[in-house]
């Protein structure tokens, strides 16, 4: 376990976070990258790593985004963005795709989050704001399905409130499902024994402990 907390002096960019996640995904893994920022992880997977991407709308072996003549309206990712097919790909229907996910066959899934609790509870589908129209998609299935769930997010919301929290206040997506949280200013492990700080970027353990109000292990 890395526990060096005297890291670089500046926060990570989104691409740096994505690259860090990519490095932590074992070669040969089957991986689902959630809609939004987690899709950036694909750009940082090492060539030859043999990592196979699942998209829950019904495909294993998803390739990069499609451009120009490659665009095929029948071939999209879960974010409805046109993508490409790699050699060795396979298509399947929704019940089979979610059986694959919910049956625990995916090694890793990477999701965005509104909040993650120190014990790994995830809130990423609804802010509960009055008048908001909730949409859950496959988020709850992904949260409980993959062997490991990594979250990729900024550690603080725009108004400065922490998104790694003692206990989620937003509506939950899943209980005790997240194992790692990768943010701009730090990486954490979360779980039964609470949050543990793994690395910091442009901040310190003391500053984070104070701002988060959490024991960071």
């Amino acid at each position: 376990m890395i526990s060096d907390t005297s890291g670089p002096r500046t926060p990570r960019t989104r691409h740096e976070i994505a690259a860090a996640i990519a490095r932590d995904i074992p070669a040969g893994s089957f991986v689902n990258l959630g809609i939004g920022q987690p899709t950036l992880v694909a750009d940082h997977l090492a060539p030859g790593s043999g990592i196979v991407l699942h998209t829950e709308n019904g495909m294993l072996g998803m390739g990069p985004a499609a451009h120009g003549d490659e665009i095929d309206p029948d071939l999209t990712n879960a974010g409805k963005i046109p993508v490409t097919e790699l050699a060795g790909a396979a298509y399947f229907h929704q019940a089979d795709s979610f059986a694959m996910m919910r049956g625990g066959h995916l090694d890793v899934c990477v999701l965005g989050a509104f909040q993650v609790s120190q014990h790994g509870d995830l809130a990423n589908w609804d802010t509960g704001a009055p008048g908001s129209i909730p949409g859950v998609g496959g988020a709850m299935d992904l949260a409980i399905g993959a062997k490991q769930v990594f979250v990729m997010m900024t550690l603080f919301a725009k108004d400065g409130t922490p998104k790694l929290v003692p206990s989620c206040t937003y509506p939950l997506t899943g209980l005790a499902c997240v194992s790692r949280v990768y943010t701009d200013v730090a990486t954490f492990e979360v779980g039964d024994r609470g949050a543990r700080l793994v690395e910091v970027f442009g901040t310190t353990r003391d500053e984070l402990t104070t701002r988060l109000g959490l024991d960071l292990g």
Binding site: M59, P73, D74, Q94, G137, G138, G145, G174, L175
Partner: protein, 217 residues
């Protein structure tokens, strides 16, 4: 199995109050000609089961805009271009049952497979499981989920043969094969109808037993 001359003929007997399963994930696999025909046909007070709740002003969105839909059962209504649904929902003119995408697929699969109900790991501890029976099995908590049946399924497929066997194309396969098992009457919009024997028996995704009508559109 009947090869219909028109989409109008294929949806002529949809009744007011029917539950209609509508295939597609975004526009991939969306049976647009069948939905347009259903708009013309005039059935109202419908319950629509579909992954999304309409995009832009055409297809499912147009059906909603005409006030034909009483209730939407879906996983992800809120999209950048879901203004028709958003407006109706905010005005309280449409009912929403929000269902995690995997549950939507598995509940329809259960209806098609004769399963009375199933214990499911998705959504445990979240607002979408509130009020539902739960049970701990082998140390894990599950929520009891019920089948979703349709009176009619409108799906998009790639090719049919004259017996009603269907194949799909890439991620446009999505909900079609599942919905085809879960409705009393199944109507498929396809790009081409081949003679019987024109599809490889090893590659047929929806066997003819599930399909009542096909129409080229």
């Amino acid at each position: 199995m009947k090869v219909c001359d028109s989409a109008a003929e294929a949806v002529a007997d949809v009744e007011d109050g029917a539950t209609v399963l509508v295939g597609g994930f975004g526009m991939a696999g969306m049976p647009v000609a069948l939905i347009d025909a259903l708009i013309q046909q005039g059935a109202t007070d419908l319950t629509v089961v579909s992954n999304n709740a309409g995009n832009g002003d055409t297809g499912l969105a147009a059906l909603l805009a005409r006030g034909r839909v009483r209730k939407v059962v879906c996983s992800f209504p809120r999209q950048a271009d879901s203004w028709v649904f958003d407006g109706l929902f905010r005005e309280g003119r449409i009912e929403l049952e929000l269902v995690p995408q995997g549950n939507l697929a598995e509940r329809m699969r259960a209806a098609g497979a004769g399963i009375g109900a199933f214990f499911c790991p998705t959504g445990v501890g979240t607002p979408l499981a509130e009020g539902k029976e739960t049970r701990v099995i082998d140390g894990r908590t599950y929520v009891l989920e019920m089948p979703i049946r349709g009176d009619v399924a409108l799906i998009g497929a790639h090719r049919a043969d004259r017996a009603g066997n269907l194949v799909y194309r890439k991620t446009a396969r999505n909900f079609g094969p599942v919905m085809a098992t879960a409705a009393t009457t199944v109507v498929a919009q396809v790009s081409e109808v081949l003679d019987v024997g024109g599809l490889d028996p090893e590659s047929i995704v929806t066997p003819s037993i599930y399909v009542d009508r096909v129409v080229v559109a």
